[in-house]
Amino acid sequence: MVSKSPTNPLVIAAQALFYGLFAVIIAIFSTWPEYAHLEEDRSLIKLSFSYHGEPVGECRERSPEELAKLAPNMRVAKVCPRERSPIRVRIDLDGQPLFEGSAPPAGLSKDGASTLYRRFEVPAGEHLVSVKMNDNVRIADFNLVREEKVTLKPAQIMVIDVRKDQGGIFFE
């Protein structure tokens, strides 16, 4: 039976040992093992946008009869549909399809922005990146296109985004 007296050298040594072990357990898993998020010679392409598609229909003029039925303060001649088009996306990498999908507009009336976020790990090096988008259901084909040769360094992140004020699709 060990004497529990705090002055017992065996008790002091054992306590020091256990506190040391406690510290080692905390310290080890605080930084180890190392984690490599991306394999060597790989790069990351992120597709990320938040973009309002075009209205799903044309604006039209109200007839005089329709206007007459409205309250005087509501008699706006031109009426446009609220609903926005979904954004269709297709990405090809070196001629091979990388992603194809669609981002629906947000909101109960589908009048919000379409948002999408995807990440693709690709080999580092030179690639032909082709991004095609359609933001208007009244147009059958892709109406926003960007195709460019890019050189990706290992661990580099390239973002594909689309903004009207940036002239459409852009790489960053």
Partner: protein, 520 residues
């Protein structure tokens, strides 16, 4: 599942007993994991205040600022930063061990459902506090954690714009960073509130470890801070993926797990684990015993049951008939049916002359009057050369197994139910010795049964054992459920010691009960 839990409990109790030998029950970290968690949280909060005051929290400045305090002012800022980090790591470690320990002890159902359920959100809050702290450093690890967390939350349809878009080049601003600072203060404050709620249904909560344990762990963290100071990764760069990260696995293991599976997979793991923990109290379990009952004519309002109740289940109310007096009242939702209150009641003394002994607060399933009758009958039936009365505990090593011709065993719901006067009564009623056993300190199913009994028998707590009771004829032998051999060995040793005493040596004068029919 129960057999696995029992196996785990036996292993845990062996570990706890091993550590008892070097730390004592009061300083044994295994027995005070909750208090250690609070201790680590206090250290993290205290060191966090300094870091909050001195750090520049702008997105461009914070990394430079932290680097300055880590390397230039290492003797204060660097040490405090390391203490902040390691105490937070220690908090996760002891929190998870605390969760495991309470599970193995079966402390998740019946009257304990509240503490168990309220403990579950604190796990989320601890992780949210810690992970948010990594973002504030705004190094490559912080950026990685922030993006991974955003990708995880983006899986939920709650953001109109993906949170990950905040971490694209040119988007991030100081305002967003101010939000992070606000969260890293707000979430730990919410955590403290949640912990306050967590301990609401227990009295005298173990939130401060003993001085020795607090000092020992603090020195441990301090040494660790000197030996392995916390350092940052390179400054966050939104255009590259960091090649190698020295991840803090206590907090950030969720990110590799997500990339190994998927955001949906991680939600499944985290949500599933949370639901499982919340559902545990609903699993089939033993029905709770009847709760304590107050007998007003025998309650003198002394407050001892009120003070000793481990769960704050007793309230003292003004006596309806005696102005200036109080009367105990049991709060049914809080009562754990442990009987510690009956052991604290001065009316529980078996020396009272009433034929039908009724005490001030009693357990219907094991009334004090019935215990006195049972003890008298069993001691009278003893025939061995050395007669020993054993007071055992249903939660500890099964004392019933040591019963024989010379040993009378009274198994209590909790040793804390034992009024100390029963020891003297047994010795004066024919027993040569009394052995009291129960769970080891810290293992008691009802928190304070062991501690209060030990203090009552040592004369340090009311009601106390009278000093005239010879120590040679009383043996206390704590033994957890799997320590039956220890109990048997203690009993054999006690019997041998009693054999060596002369028949009249250290023996109390016999007591012959004179009973009256009238009660009170």
């Amino acid at each position: 599942m129960d057999s696995i839990r029992q196996g785990g409990l036996a292993l845990l109790q062996r570990i706890e007993r091993f550590f008892d030998a070097f730390f004592g029950a009061a300083g044994n970290p295994w027995r005070h994991l909750g208090a250690l968690g609070f201790h680590f949280l206090w250290i993290a909060l205290a060191t966090g205040i300094y870091l909050f005051i001195v750090l520049d929290t702008g997105i461009e400045d914070v990394h430079t600022s932290i680097e300055y305090y880590t390397h230039e002012q290492w003797w204060l800022g660097g040490i405090l930063r390391s203490l902040h980090r390691y105490s937070a790591d220690g908090l996760v470690l002891v929190m998870l061990l605390h969760l495991l320990r309470e599970f193995l002890y079966g402390r998740f159902h019946s009257f304990r459902w509240y503490s168990w359920i309220t403990g579950v959100p604190t796990i989320w809050l601890v992780y949210a506090s810690g992970i948010g702290g990594y973002w504030l450093v705004w190094d490559q690890l912080g950026l990685f954690s922030a993006v991974a967390s955003a990708e995880w939350f983006d899986w939920l349809p709650i953001f109109s714009t993906p949170a990950t878009r905040n971490f694209l080049p040119g988007v991030l601003t100081d305002r967003f960073f101010s939000l992070l600072v606000f969260l890293h203060i707000g979430i730990p404050l919410t955590l403290m509130l949640a912990l306050w709620v967590h301990i609401q249904r227990i009295s005298q909560a173990d939130v401060f470890p003993s001085r020795a344990l607090a000092l020992g762990t603090f020195v441990m963290l301090l040494v660790l801070a000197f030996v392995k100071p916390t350092v940052s990764h390179g400054k966050a760069d939104l255009s590259v993926v960091p090649e190698v990260l020295h991840i803090d696995w206590y907090y950030l293991f969720i990110h590799p797990l997500m990339y190994l599976t998927s955001p949906a997979g991680l939600w499944l793991v985290a949500g599933g684990a949370t639901l499982l923990l919340l559902a545990l109290p609903l699993l089939p379990h033993r029905k709770q015993e009847p709760i304590a009952v107050v007998n007003p004519p025998n309650c003198n309002g002394c407050r001892r049951c009120f003070v000793d109740c481990p769960y704050g289940a007793i309230a003292m109310l003004p006596h309806p008939d005696k102005p200036g007096h109080e009367l105990a009242r049991v709060l049914p939702d809080l009562c754990a049916s442990c009987g510690i209150c009956a052991g604290a009641c001065p009316s529980s003394t078996p020396f009272r002359s009433v034929e039908q002994l009724v005490t001030g607060i009693d357990m219907p399933q094991q009334p004090i009057g019935a215990l006195r009758q049972d003890m008298e009958r069993r001691i009278a039936a003893l025939t061995g050369p050395v007669k020993i009365a054993v007071f055992g505990c249903e939660c500890a090593a099964g004392a019933g197994a040591v019963e024989d011709q010379g040993t009378a065993v009274m198994n209590l719901m909790c040793t804390g139910l034992l009024p100390p006067s029963f020891v003297e009564y047994a010795l004066r009623g024919g027993a040569d010795g009394v052995l009291v056993t129960g769970c080891r300190e810290g293992s008691c199913a009802y928190r304070f049964g062991t501690q209060w009994t030990e203090q009552r028998l040592a004369g340090k707590r009311e009601p106390h054992l009278r000093p005239g009771v010879p120590a040679e004829r009383l043996r206390i032998a704590w033994a957890d459920r799997h320590e039956m051999s220890d109990l048997k060995a203690a009993l054999d040793d006690f019997r041998e010691n009693l054999k060596n005493l002369d028949a009249d040596e250290k023996r109390l004068r016999p007591y012959t009960p004179r009973r009256t029919v009238k009660n009170g």
